[in-house]
């Protein structure tokens, strides 16, 4: 069924991929962008086009979130592809890239095919699976990178489990390079993190909790970057949190390495003090850092060192979260609040709106080789319409995700998603 042509009129059109921020309109025909920007004004539209006056709201490419954990298969009670896609639609996210840490892990071409088929049948946004870098995410045997890529995996990661064996990581990178496969790695040395659940420092000491040093992240990242230099692999750091990590990425880019890095929206907008009285919704890996680190990471985003912002959407239920802090699971949901939380950085003057959107649209799309994340004519008709100045309060009851573990419970945001459009069709937001 073909979508009715749709004209988003009276818009502020922002397309970071084309360096565009101007008043105009966006015309969607046959599920694709027909025109976007000032040139789309007064151009006429096909007969029967639905005209939606967005009243000066921002129209931008739909968000691409390459840091989403879904419980399907294996933990559907936390999140299914269907419920995750509803949460994504509510947050303006039109493409989600799923982590391989399901049960079973996505380490077989048949499982990639399963995710793609389930997504096709049940999800309202685009879903691209990342496949496991090692079999069963065990960190020992490499997975079938060639066959998995052919099956549709867009990148390869070991989920939240870092690969500690440098020799194995070297071989993985070496092999992945032959297939031009992107290696996405969570850099947190489990031996150095130990039982740590908080950022190492005074805060953790006062709370009497075992702490993890920043070096657990930095050392593993630096090791990886050395291996990238050795192997020539395409590498993406999944979620960084420390100023020194950003510096390492900066140096690697300067040296011409094919590296990119992401940061979670949580680490850009929250710090270790937000944990307050042992609130487990703020327990995540890597742990929230100090305010100084957060500010350094915001600066690294602003100067382009960090390429991508992810939600790190990780649905956990009460069984895993309603526990003493040290025993609770890591992770927070984030699809629905990704853009709104990001706009805090814009309103505070730390980040330009187009830079924020680039990190959520064209940058991840390009890194993954997806044709989304832009409003260029001919691109898929995936669009988010949002009012950057509309205030709202996060209502736990209204959360679409099956899990409710948001660190932004009752948060006040300025900037709200009005419409999410995938392939030219408006989704319920």
């Amino acid at each position: 069924m073909t979508a009715t042509p749709l004209l988003l009129a009276n818009a502020r059109v922002i397309d970071p991929a084309r360096d565009l921020d101007a008043p105009g309109a966006v015309l969607l025909v046959d599920g694709r962008i027909a025109a976007a920007g000032p040139e789309a004004l007064n151009q006429g539209a096909p007969e029967g086009t639905e005209i939606l006056d967005v009243e000066g709201a921002v129209v931008a490419p739909g968000l691409v979130d390459m840091g989403v954990t879904v419980g399907e298969p294996g933990a559907e009670h936390r999140e299914t592809l269907a419920s995750a896609s509803l949460a994504a639609a509510a947050g303006g996210v039109t493409t989600i890239v799923t982590a391989p840490g399901t049960d079973p892990a996505i380490d077989d071409p048949a499982l990639v095919d399963f995710v793609l088929r389930r997504a096709r049948d049940t999800a309202c946004v685009r879903v691209h699976p990342m496949a496991a870098l090692t079999k069963g995410l065990q960190g020992t045997e490499m997975s079938e990178i060639g066959l998995l890529k052919e099956a549709g995996a867009v990148a390869f990661s070991n989920g939240s489990r870092s690969i500690t064996h440098a020799g194995i990581m070297r071989r993985l990178m070496t092999y992945a390079r032959d297939f031009d496969a992107l290696v996405v790695h969570h850099t947190e040395d489990p031996d150095l993190t130990g039982a740590g659940v908080l950022n190492e420092g005074l805060n953790a000491s006062w709370k009497g909790l075992p702490a993890a040093p920043r070096e657990a992240e930095i050392i593993m990242l630096e090791r990886d970057l050395r291996l990238v230099a050795l192997t020539g692999a395409r590498y993406h750091a999944a979620a960084l949190s420390c100023a020194d990590s950003a510096e390492a990425i900066r140096a690697a880019k300067r040296a011409g390495r094919d590296v990119t890095a992401a940061i979670s929206i949580n680490h850009l907008t929250l710090n270790e003090n937000d944990i307050g009285p042992y609130r487990t919704f703020f327990k995540m890996a890597p742990p929230l850092r100090t305010e100084d680190e957060r500010q350094a990471m915001v600066a690294a985003l602003a100067d382009g060192t960090l390429d991508v912002i992810v939600s790190n959407h990780d649905p956990q239920d009460v069984e895993t979260k309603r526990l003493p802090f040290a025993e609770a699971a890591d992770g927070a949901i984030g699809l629905e609040t990704l853009l709104a939380a990001g706009l805090r950085l814009v309103h505070s003057g730390d980040i330009a709106l187009s830079r924020l959107l680039a990190a959520m649209t064209c940058n991840p799309a390009r890194r993954l080789g997806l044709d989304v994340g832009t409003l260029a004519p001919g691109a898929p008709g995936d669009v988010v319409v949002f009012d950057p100045d509309r205030p709202w309060i996060v209502d736990k009851q209204a959360i679409r995700s099956r899990a409710k573990n948001t660190p932004f419970e009752d948060a006040r945001f300025t900037g709200r998603v009005l419409h999410t459009i995938v392939a030219g069709r408006r989704l319920a937001t």
């Binding site: 079999k135 045997e141 997975s143 079938e144 990178i145 060639g146 071989r171 070496t174 032959d178 192997t231």
Partner: protein, 321 residues
């Protein structure tokens, strides 16, 4: 030593055959010419010659290898040598000192030629320095396997009439392959164009500086190839470590009709054996009309006869010892 006057001794002036490295093109060609003659001997009803009559040849195998060992045994016997096979379990000779001890023990038995296979690169060279007789390297670790390269060259030359300017694609586990190293040296010495095809995890560092073109895509690597030389995947220690699985390996690096179509229409397929059908090579190709795999075995005996004969020319003549 009066044997230095024989023409074969002039053509091959070395006491040992420890590797292809260090051999001159004309020396290699002399061995191949000699082997051509040995093929005829092997095809006769009366196969015995007396070149090595009264000589003792010891096949000292620290690593099991039925086909290479029997090939050397047959070659030696056809030349009239007294051949003795010694199999030594690798666990009892892990240390260099033990290998040297073995050499001293052997020396006391006064052999004329020792054929050695060892799991450690360089072990054959070490042994050669410690014994008084001629030594043939029958494969040392991942270093060299000179008689395999010679028999491959002989097989190629008999079918294509030459080695120079042929394009030879060597495919598979180059990293662990002594066959690949010896072949790369030999083929380059004789003017062939050598391509290697493998995932990067199965290639040694610096391969591009070894006189080869490197490919990770089989079809690109096989383009214009006159010869497709497949190597055995040592699957028992491979899966998960160097490649993800046998099925993925076969999908991208196994030789099947589809990939072979990228080579020249008259391309010939070789494999040093033993083969893993369905892993590195499709059974249809292995047993198909382009395959020279069986013939390689025949050429193996001939090449080893040629090498033994060449070394015999350097042995002390009767009455000298």
């Amino acid at each position: 030593m009066s044997a230095q006057t024989s023409p074969l001794a002039d053509a091959y002036p070395h006491r040992h055959l420890l590797g292809i490295e260090g051999l001159q093109p004309h020396e290699i060609l002399a061995l191949l010419d000699r082997a051509d003659a040995a093929v005829e001997v092997s095809r006769q009803v009366e196969k015995k010659k007396s070149v090595l009559r009264g000589r003792t040849q010891i096949n000292l195998f620290f690593e099991a290898s039925t086909r290479t060992q029997s090939s050397f045994e047959i070659a030696g016997k056809r030349l009239g040598a007294d051949v003795m096979n010694m199999s030594v379990s690798s666990s009892s000779v892990k240390k260099g000192e033990t290998l040297v001890d073995t050499a001293a023990t052997l020396n006391a038995m006064h052999p004329d030629i020792i054929v050695v296979r060892h799991h450690a690169a360089g072990a054959v060279q070490l042994l050669a320095r410690k014994v008084g007789c001629s030594v043939i390297n029958a494969g040392d670790g991942a270093h060299e396997h000179p008689t395999q390269a010679l028999l491959d060259a002989l097989t190629i030359r008999r079918h294509k009439g030459k080695i120079a300017r042929l394009t030879v694609a060597i495919c598979g586990d180059i990293l662990h392959s002594r066959v690949a190293r010896s072949n790369i040296i030999l083929l380059n010495a004789l003017g062939a164009r050598v391509k290697v095809v493998a995932p990067s995890t199965l290639l040694p560092a610096g391969i591009a500086q070894m006189g080869v073109e490197v490919f990770h895509d089989m079809r690109a690597g096989l383009a214009d190839a006159d010869i497709v030389m497949m190597l055995r995947l040592q699957r028992e220690r491979m899966a998960g470590a160097f490649i993800p699985s046998v099925r993925e390996y076969f999908r991208y690096y196994g030789l099947d009709a589809d990939k072979l179509a990228a080579a020249k229409p008259d391309a010939l397929v070789m494999h040093p054996g033993p083969m893993n059908r369905g892993v590195e090579i499709d059974p249809e190709i292995a047993d198909g009309p382009q395959s020279l795999i069986r013939e390689q075995v025949e050429m193996g005996v001939a090449v080893r006869m040629a090498v033994l004969e060449a070394l015999a020319a350097h042995l002390p003549t009767r009455g000298d010892a």
